[in-house]
Subunit: 476 residues, 3 copies
Amino acid sequence: MARRLELHTDRLFPAEPTVRSIARELYAQVAACPIVSPHGHCDPAWFADNDPFSDPTSLLVRPDHYLTRMLYSQGVALTSLGISATGHDDELGPGTARAAWQVFAQHYDLFRGTPSRIWLDQTFIDLFGLDVVLDGETADHYFDVISDALTRDEYRPRSLFESFNIEVLATTESPLDDLDGHKRLGAEGWGNRVITTFRPDPVVNPAHDGFVENVAALGTLTHRDTGRWDDYLASLWERRQVFRSFGATATDHGHPAATTADLSAEKCQQLLTGALSGHLDDREADLFRGQVLTEMAAMSLEDGLVMQIHAGSRRDHNPLVHRLYGRDRGADIPGPTDYVESLRPLLNRFGNDSRLTVILFTLDESAYSRELAPLAGHYPCLLLGPPWWFFDSVEGIRRYRRAITETAGYANTAGFNDDTRAFLSIPARHDLARRVECGELAYLVSEHRLTLEDASELAEDCAHRLARRAYRLGVR
Amino acid sequence: MARRLELHTDRLFPAEPTVRSIARELYAQVAACPIVSPHGHCDPAWFADNDPFSDPTSLLVRPDHYLTRMLYSQGVALTSLGISATGHDDELGPGTARAAWQVFAQHYDLFRGTPSRIWLDQTFIDLFGLDVVLDGETADHYFDVISDALTRDEYRPRSLFESFNIEVLATTESPLDDLDGHKRLGAEGWGNRVITTFRPDPVVNPAHDGFVENVAALGTLTHRDTGRWDDYLASLWERRQVFRSFGATATDHGHPAATTADLSAEKCQQLLTGALSGHLDDREADLFRGQVLTEMAAMSLEDGLVMQIHAGSRRDHNPLVHRLYGRDRGADIPGPTDYVESLRPLLNRFGNDSRLTVILFTLDESAYSRELAPLAGHYPCLLLGPPWWFFDSVEGIRRYRRAITETAGYANTAGFNDDTRAFLSIPARHDLARRVECGELAYLVSEHRLTLEDASELAEDCAHRLARRAYRLGVR
Amino acid sequence: MARRLELHTDRLFPAEPTVRSIARELYAQVAACPIVSPHGHCDPAWFADNDPFSDPTSLLVRPDHYLTRMLYSQGVALTSLGISATGHDDELGPGTARAAWQVFAQHYDLFRGTPSRIWLDQTFIDLFGLDVVLDGETADHYFDVISDALTRDEYRPRSLFESFNIEVLATTESPLDDLDGHKRLGAEGWGNRVITTFRPDPVVNPAHDGFVENVAALGTLTHRDTGRWDDYLASLWERRQVFRSFGATATDHGHPAATTADLSAEKCQQLLTGALSGHLDDREADLFRGQVLTEMAAMSLEDGLVMQIHAGSRRDHNPLVHRLYGRDRGADIPGPTDYVESLRPLLNRFGNDSRLTVILFTLDESAYSRELAPLAGHYPCLLLGPPWWFFDSVEGIRRYRRAITETAGYANTAGFNDDTRAFLSIPARHDLARRVECGELAYLVSEHRLTLEDASELAEDCAHRLARRAYRLGVR
């Protein structure tokens, strides 16, 4: 028998009645604030084309590595979820999509206690009006209801964008991207609503798939000899300016470590030459990436782009999954990540310049109180990004605030990021974060560590103002 | 004046009334579930012989390194607790046992706020009907009551086993063990109730006391030349099969690091030869242990034994205590432990095979959210063992679930282990874990992160079903 | 409009009514206990001279690196806070002091959620009777009220000391210090109330500013050739004895790592010679510091001084700030800190001797449960110091007790340290710690993990008895 699915109005608030009632009051003030989404992975083509989304599986399951990871860990074959070695963007036939949805539904219990479950349930209810729990028996009902909705105009990408009350959403593109989606969006007056972010990893990380070809392609784009260090930098600078013209206010850097470097031009040329001939060892590749970070900081001082450093993920830990199914299939595993020594070269050059903003992200929670809060609580250029990836969750946000605030306060944090390619989950993700932030503020108020008046201001800061300020996004 | 000792019916539940009432409801469902104890260190001879336990000190104090460690840290001489350099298994005279008990009782206050105190108090009340707090004044009363009880038939090992409602209990033996206790248990129809576990550390760890002699003895047992790598492996395989015939469903590996390796046969032979001639340096010894782990995984794929890896303890950190009193005297200290890089070689070979089960344990809690939950939340072969050793406690279990669940869910965890040689504490240990797990589930329900219905299922999973499934133990 | 400032009687207690009422009851017992302050950085000259404090900025803002750090991180120039490159001890003109106070006040919101805010607000209310929140508009009012108070006799250092109910306060001095303040205090009968602590870093750390000159000065003081290892040690010993004569019961060692060493006299001489000729690399400097720690332990066994090891801070991470404004300006950043391997050489020699007391501090919270509690829960010589620096806070103390107690109990901890140079904040700091400790005990009582009677004893232990015992301070 189908189980009833419902959203409790007090969900994610602490149970203690005093705390809960304060949380409720704070949340009421921010629940309807516009969504500011300064970092994420949506496809700009969705909004440029404004075509209907194809089917529930392609929309909600296949691209969500939180889901496919967990299912895989319990022995579910990725192929049974519609993922194939030929690339995950192929259109699924309706039978395949429905069968994959059934597999997902039968294993939906695995997500009990995870944020994915919270985001999905809220999406099912708020967006599709579903009122029974997803399981093997209700799978077809879900598939039908969602499929039907997706054919309707109000479920097209731009309508959803409007109904989600998104004010601005940043996507993330490679310097090699032609930004076609953003061009078309600009032409249709959406240029300030969907903006790009400059993410140069494919031309910066010697270990990236196709690095050598990518750097060559960068040279072709900019008519420069990217085998020369000065031309390589000039090419990056020029692409940054193109990205700025498509609304970018930030760059983003996904590196295995937070290493930065400050080497001589001669040494830089040697590393670039080595990278392009495939001769760098791991340490040198790390140094090369680290040197580019420092160069990016120098450019940010010129062009005002905010730097984001997402450090510490060991990408594609599982070579079999990487070989068969490609990147971003859930096999990226965090490791211990140093910031104190790694960031020295960059900070020695630019750390005291408050015109620069560098936002740090971590997957190593032990660094929150030990390194990140002390660094952000001292250096004018540093802010801490919100809990990232695995930690964008109820407990994750609680641990973050409790480890960070006493040392770095709220002002040295950068507000919320949804960081998602799961477009439909964006309202639920922001809602979760707002509820948990209000709960944390209520906890402080209940212990008389903060006045209600201050908590009320900080709730709004957390909901959108910190993000606007950190990412230099104006108010519409 | 003696202080009253009592067990509150709501103990270990969160205080908040809504949470507490949910916890109570969940606990009521699992309080009487049979005990499944898939990993521990009881002596099979206790149950084979079924002799009465000798005295309170030998039973409850002397073998419990949680207790002796704390007492030693506050200046209590180990000899005053009946522990001597001549080996801790000597029988204590009644005067010595009583005097040692008095020392323990006088320092019982040291355990306030520790799980040992909770386990012991519950044992004193539930098993011996004691109703005053243990201290210097009540020590003799305790000694008399417990001594008297131990002479009675219902306090013999098998009777206790029955009254504890233990369904199955795994002990842990060396490949060199003759399994005499298990043989006798099998002959008396107890073979499915007390099973063995294959723990090859004495013949796998070049740093183990007597390693060279142990490997030779392994060869004698199996009539093989264990100086040859292929014969060494074949000997291990043969002993595994003997252990399987005595009920083993698992192996266990206590290593200082989680290193695994995948070397050529030639290199393996070199390492074995080096180990047997005492010529390995620390790195090579680590590599040798790591290679054996990978070989054990290969064998597990054949014979179905579940692998347990207990990584990260620096054994016998205190050489004086080790020299005078031997192993397991409380001087094992954890250190930082890497899993992401260490497990690569094993995972590269077998990580995607869902027929293999590898259960990971850690003493480095910073790895929970950073490495272990992401690994277990991806690799089909991996499960996370319960909080180990120092963390088998109220706060330890809470931290574990909060750090793990949002990434890895419940299904990637292996249920509870009591992991103890303190047989009498087994019911109290399982009770503590059940209470705390129910409290955690109630916390999720109270915030509407989980339905009561789901919590109820998960409470039973935590109480015994996850352990059965992880360790491949059938239902009687 | 000015916002009302008030102290709630239940502040810092958990909100849950049962827990709160227990916390209230426990706190009532310890609220008025005398303050024992065994480690801190007050200037003994304040009490020797007993001159009025000069102005609010010099007293409360300029020397407090918790404040200047946060302000600097948000772009406030240190010079605008009255800090100049010419040294921070210059007297500020009244206009400069007032202007700097205004800057501080305008940014006071940055401290919401931090312990600094809690300490300051309590000081403002309890000591100066202020009843509006500090901000840009109330800044002048604050400055006037505080300035006025400071001219009154009851705000002189000794009067405050009395009114704070401080029983004993330890300051921290270099071996090169002439202890003039302490001499004068002794002459006036204050010798048992303000005592010194022997902190030899300037003559022990080869990386310390002026190390070579410092070691030479040490030789001049003791009429010894401190270029010889035996004389160097003898000089340290002699200075320790002088410090003892001024009340010292402890030494203190602020090292970047917890490294200890046990080298031959020949090797020690080589390292000393290298250090004095500026030829040690980082590893050798670490070894040198580590060897001195072991020597200090040997001396402690002779003279009974308690050793404090404050390990893990990377001092002066920001070279610009260091060059312009000197040490202790907020640019000290913690890093990962090993204890298990680092302490081996010292522990191998003295770890089992319960006549020795070594108190360990950390800025790496991941070591609490992994290394520090297991070490302190085993070695007779070890105690854990209270949460240090960034962690001397509500959440910091909660994390500490929850990570430590289950393994090491209360008896292996050293009570509270205020560790401050902010003399006026001492009552508020002890009050915060007492409230939070009582809250933690109440939490245990509410879950029936501790009896109220035991909690009551432990509350008093935490308030002052553990500190007295750890630091060998008698009761007046």
